[in-house]
Subunit: 160 residues, 4 copies
């Protein structure tokens, strides 16, 4: 089964560099987060709206490999694939590749690996929690969101 | 009347640099904020506690001059003087100077200008608001905090 | 004489918020910088290229008013006007307004004030320096850049 | 063989929080970096000095578990253990625990696990590169640094 990558292209900001003249490594995690926000938007809901209903999705684990550094003013694409979703847990895979993939692929790429040079790749794990940081089941807490997110995953698979 | 500067010394972080190999200019505003937090702590209360009671003190205006850049691993001191406080409004003056002034002056310096080379200096204006961002009077909303902050300003003056 | 505002639209990132649930005030300075980068790009050169030739444009002074806070996932437009340019110095004016002005105005707005609700407005002053942070004259150090930047300012004026 | 943890205590900054009212997850990586900087300082050299000689130590891989979130104004201790060092590669382990461990343990803790509640723990891998990002051997490129770093690791072991 192939992966479905949602693509979001952006430019590297000056503030994101450090004195090695490359992007400071922690900033890639912000980019992964931007990618996840856009993934959710593709499903027809907004992560902001989810938070306003008291549903949070904090990162519980991450694993990142830094292959090549990005530089100021580079155009990069954050590629985001939801690797797993249950009522309790979510796993995303993220890759940052050089260049504007979003325009050339119309926002979505289906395949094991997004084309082009990978700068950074990572995996994040998340749990659904409520405003008091207690774990919750998404299907009970927010069944409409649950249905929409599942629909997006299934539509991704049917694109295989 | 002389100014009373509360001193907080710290080291420049790697993440705070940019590719000019100096501290990115927006980061000085974080340091000003750290200085204000420590100013409040000197008054025997914590800014965190104030926020937990629904009292916020957002910045409404700032004016900053950048004289010399700080560099990674520099030891710098943030000097914070409360220039004005009413029940509605607060004005702070902040200076970042090179070196560890806090140890050599035991945390407080009384005088118009903290000694040593100034890197950055600025003025910030603030208003008291509640959790809904509506302006409030500090003396009505939180009379104990009001009294403690006033006491700190007066003790500063009596140190002249 | 009217002002020419170059418009750059973007979304507020999660990482840019703080626990007041609004954008942390120092982040608006990053947005001003993004606006200046895009201003320069409109002139047919890139700020990155300028830096690679050893020409830097650090901020020496800033003055910012915070009117309304931006929130996570808001669409905002950074509007950038070059208020003055000499061979030694540059002054920019920046405004952040809510909504996507860039699309609706095709990237440029001529007029005293960009339309829509202003969140934050500021003025920054800059000097041209070389890699050793010594002031330089732009017309001598980089005459081609100087010509292109001037051309952009004049084309802005002729748009009046 | 027990681990030797070098301890660095600090306060959580306002700017480090996000709208979940906890520290934004990417910021823990900055703290790990601060811990590594202080580890190197314990060896009698400064990381800044190493960079000035053209020796960089970028992160190539990281693996982080987020157990409990830190909050604004919390006092936290970053604990840093060098797990492996060769002429080519370095591996660090980092833990962030709540409270001021540095004062109570005089800066160093020997044992498998630093005491107290762990908020975040992670492992980072690094390679030595030169200013052109080419891998180098530390013992050839900077034999004095190599000797000092090894001495610190051995002194750590002899403390068992």
């Amino acid at each position: 089964m192939m992966k479905t990558w949602y693509l979001h292209t952006m430019r590297v900001r000056y503030q994101e560099t450090d004195q090695m003249k490359v992007v400071y490594h922690a900033n890639y995690l912000n980019w992964f987060e931007i990618g996840r926000t856009e993934w959710v938007r593709h499903a027809g809901i907004s992560y902001r709206e989810m938070e306003e209903k008291g549903l949070l999705l904090p990162v519980t684990h991450l694993d990142v490999s830094f292959l090549q550094p990005a530089q100021y003013d580079d155009v990069v694409t954050v590629c985001t694939h939801m690797a797993e979703m249950s009522a309790l847990r979510v796993r995303f895979e993220s890759k940052v590749v050089i260049g504007d993939l979003a325009s050339s692929h119309d926002g979505v790429y289906v395949g094991d690996e997004p084309p082009g040079e990978t700068l950074v790749e990572g995996k994040t794990r998340h749990v659904w929690v409520n405003a008091a940081w207690k774990p919750v089941r998404l299907d009970r807490e927010a069944p409409v969101f649950h249905t929409k997110l599942l629909a997006q995953i299934q539509s991704a698979h049917s694109a295989d």
